[in-house]
């Protein structure tokens, strides 16, 4: 009502109201209603049978299936996939036409076969075609040693091998893109310092390529978690989804058994996602604010980590 305040103060600290975001509040309201409906269904609809879900989740065969088939399967297949994939990528990028061709052929072959089919073919094929594994010179009566394939060719081993070999074909392309993303001045600087090709690859190129390699590899790992459910084709029975289904068939409580598996998959994926953002931060060192901003945003959205900073 009166004129300007009767004071000699100069403008001080700004204490302004923030911009309002009504759209956000509407979205929150809608989502809250949907969430409430879902939760209410969970609670009121007895068919969800949460106590049984919980029982299935901690049922011993499901847990061992989770550890062996799902987790060990994923880790084993991804280790084979990443190591072999990087090797294939390096082979493909050399000047050696033989290595190049071999890598191309490998990728062509394994990318062309569905994993489900590959699992069956390898499980049948390995024991059928090669019941003993002999290391020697081809076409010559020279043998270094012989292994009985049955001793190590358990279903899980073959399954992991098959998934890993298949994964390597995809990882090779990812690793190749990563290696090519590194400026060639980096290799030249390494060479000029007297590094060998291998040392330059290991110390200079691959660590930088990892920035490009890690995010798609995270996706590959998540896919692999889910693809371990294909191990049943080998057959591997020591696998989480197979065991959950077994429970559902034995008890006729189909939905709660499946939900138990779904929850386990979500838990494993979440943990892997955390591992991925840690790796991305690790390999993003030195690449400026951009990377850390991206990471922070993802971290906040997924709510995986408290706090900020880089």
């Amino acid at each position: 009502m009166s004129s300007a305040p009767d004071t000699l103060d100069r403008p001080g600290e700004i204490n302004a109201r923030p911009v309002r975001h009504p759209g956000r509040w509407i979205a929150i309201a809608v989502l809250a209603v949907l969430a409430a409906m879902l939760i209410s269904s969970f609670v009121t609809n007895a068919k969800w049978d949460w106590p049984f879900v919980w029982q299935v989740m901690k049922y011993k065969p499901v847990i061992t299936g989770l550890l062996a088939g799902t987790i060990l399967g994923t880790i084993g297949a991804m280790i084979i996939g990443v190591v072999l994939g990087v090797l294939l990528a390096i082979m493909r990028l050399t000047d050696n036409p033989v290595l190049k061709g071999a890598s191309w052929l490998y990728i062509w072959f394994f990318r062309g076969i569905p994993r489900y089919v590959l699992l069956i073919v390898m499980s049948v094929g390995i024991l059928y075609l090669y019941d003993t594994l002999t290391i020697g010179l081809p076409f010559l009566p020279v043998t270094f040693f012989t292994i009985n394939v049955k001793t190590f060719s358990t279903g899980l081993f073959v399954g992991i091998l098959a998934l890993g070999l298949s994964e390597a074909a995809y990882m090779a392309e990812i690793a190749r893109a990563g290696i090519l993303s590194v400026d060639k001045g980096q290799d030249e600087a390494a060479c000029a310092l007297g590094m060998s090709k291998g040392l330059s690859m290991r110390r200079v190129i691959l660590p930088q390529a990892m920035r490009v390699i890690v995010p798609p590899t995270g996706n590959e790992t998540l896919s692999m978690v889910k693809d371990t459910s294909l191990l049943v084709a080998v057959p591997v029975t020591n696998e989480m989804f197979f065991q959950a289904q077994a429970v559902s068939q034995a008890t006729y409580k189909v939905m709660p058994s499946l939900i138990a598996a779904v929850i386990w998959y979500l838990i494993v994926s979440t943990i892997l996602g955390m591992g991925q953002s840690w790796l991305e931060r690790h390999f993003g060192r030195g690449f400026g604010a951009q990377t850390s901003v991206q990471n922070d945003t993802r971290v906040k959205f997924l709510g995986l980590r408290g706090g900020g900073g880089n």
Binding site: E188, A189, L193, R203, V204, Q208, F283, G286, G288
Partner: protein
């Protein structure tokens, strides 16, 4: 073979070096001798083959003809009774250890801090102990004026600082020879001086240097000799002041005229006044 005494042997001896890319001959028989402790500037218009020649010396490019000796050692080949045998990658890597190179675009390792960049080669190539290398690396960073930036990543440094780290990184291998390929061309003008100063101090410390540059003032004041290249051949060479003040060949003259008008912080290119046109930070005696 040589009847010269050990001390008179050139550190770098390039004889009739030729290099072609896909049939396009870029170096057409380069001869160059650089004595120990000498600073040689390579001048010449863009595309004349300066970068290619520098890269041939440390075998980032393989030459098609001629020979390059560094400290008496034939680069890239073993000579057995006149027959050359290509060296293995490991042997070539060993030869490169004696030669430091500084690139136009720095090429620092972005995933490592300044200190780690400097330590990388001594630790992983020479396999020296990290603790001693660390002390040496810090001393080198101090020498290029960056002791307080040791733990910064390259992305956190200015271009001039990055280039000085790159110089320290090359020096960490204790090379006999330093090659610089337009080390200041990618820098903002106000950052050029600090890099040239570092190079000048290195030159005064007795390092043998081959520098490709367009900084005429630097060439004239710091280099013992300039070599003017054009079209893949050495057109003219001699003591730096003499060549820059009184170039003999028309191509050298027109190149210098052009470059000196571009670098117009030089008020007047008075060939006879020794310090004219040389930025204050580069003047030897002021």
């Amino acid at each position: 073979m040589s009847t010269q005494s050990e001390s008179a042997r050139p550190l770098v001896e390039a004889i009739n070096v030729t290099k072609a890319f896909h049939g396009n001959e870029v170096l057409k028989g380069i001869d160059l001798h650089v004595n120990p402790g000498e600073v040689v500037c390579l001048l010449g218009p863009s595309g004349s083959g300066k970068t290619t020649f520098l890269r041939c010396i440390n075998q980032l490019e393989t030459i098609n003809g001629g020979r390059i000796f560094v400290d008496g050692e034939l680069m890239g080949y073993r000579d057995q009774g006149g027959q050359l045998y290509r060296l293995k990658d490991k042997e070539i890597a060993a030869q490169r250890r004696e030669i430091g190179m500084v690139f136009q675009r720095f090429n620092l390792f972005p995933h490592r801090t300044a200190l780690q960049n400097v330590m990388e080669a001594p630790v992983h190539v020479k396999r020296q102990k990290a603790a001693t290398v660390r002390a040496d690396a810090l001393a080198l960073l101090d020498r290029v004026g960056l002791a307080d930036r040791a733990n910064h990543y390259p992305s956190q440094l200015s271009g001039g600082q990055q280039q000085r780290v790159a110089i320290a990184r090359a020096l960490a291998m204790q090379p006999k020879l330093m090659l610089f390929d337009e080390p200041t061309s990618a820098l903002d003008p106000e950052l050029v001086g600090e890099v040239l100063l570092t190079m000048r101090e290195l030159a005064e410390g007795g390092m043998t240097m081959i520098v490709v540059t367009h900084e005429i003032a630097f060439a004239r004041d710091v280099a013992d000799r300039v070599v003017f290249m054009d079209g893949g051949v050495v057109v003219e060479q001699g003591p730096s002041r003499e060549i820059i003040a009184r170039p003999q060949h028309e191509r050298t003259k027109s190149f210098l005229r052009r470059i000196l008008t571009e670098q117009d912080e030089t008020p007047e290119a008075h060939p006879d006044a020794p310090d004219a046109g040389i930025p204050a930070h580069l003047r030897k005696h002021s």
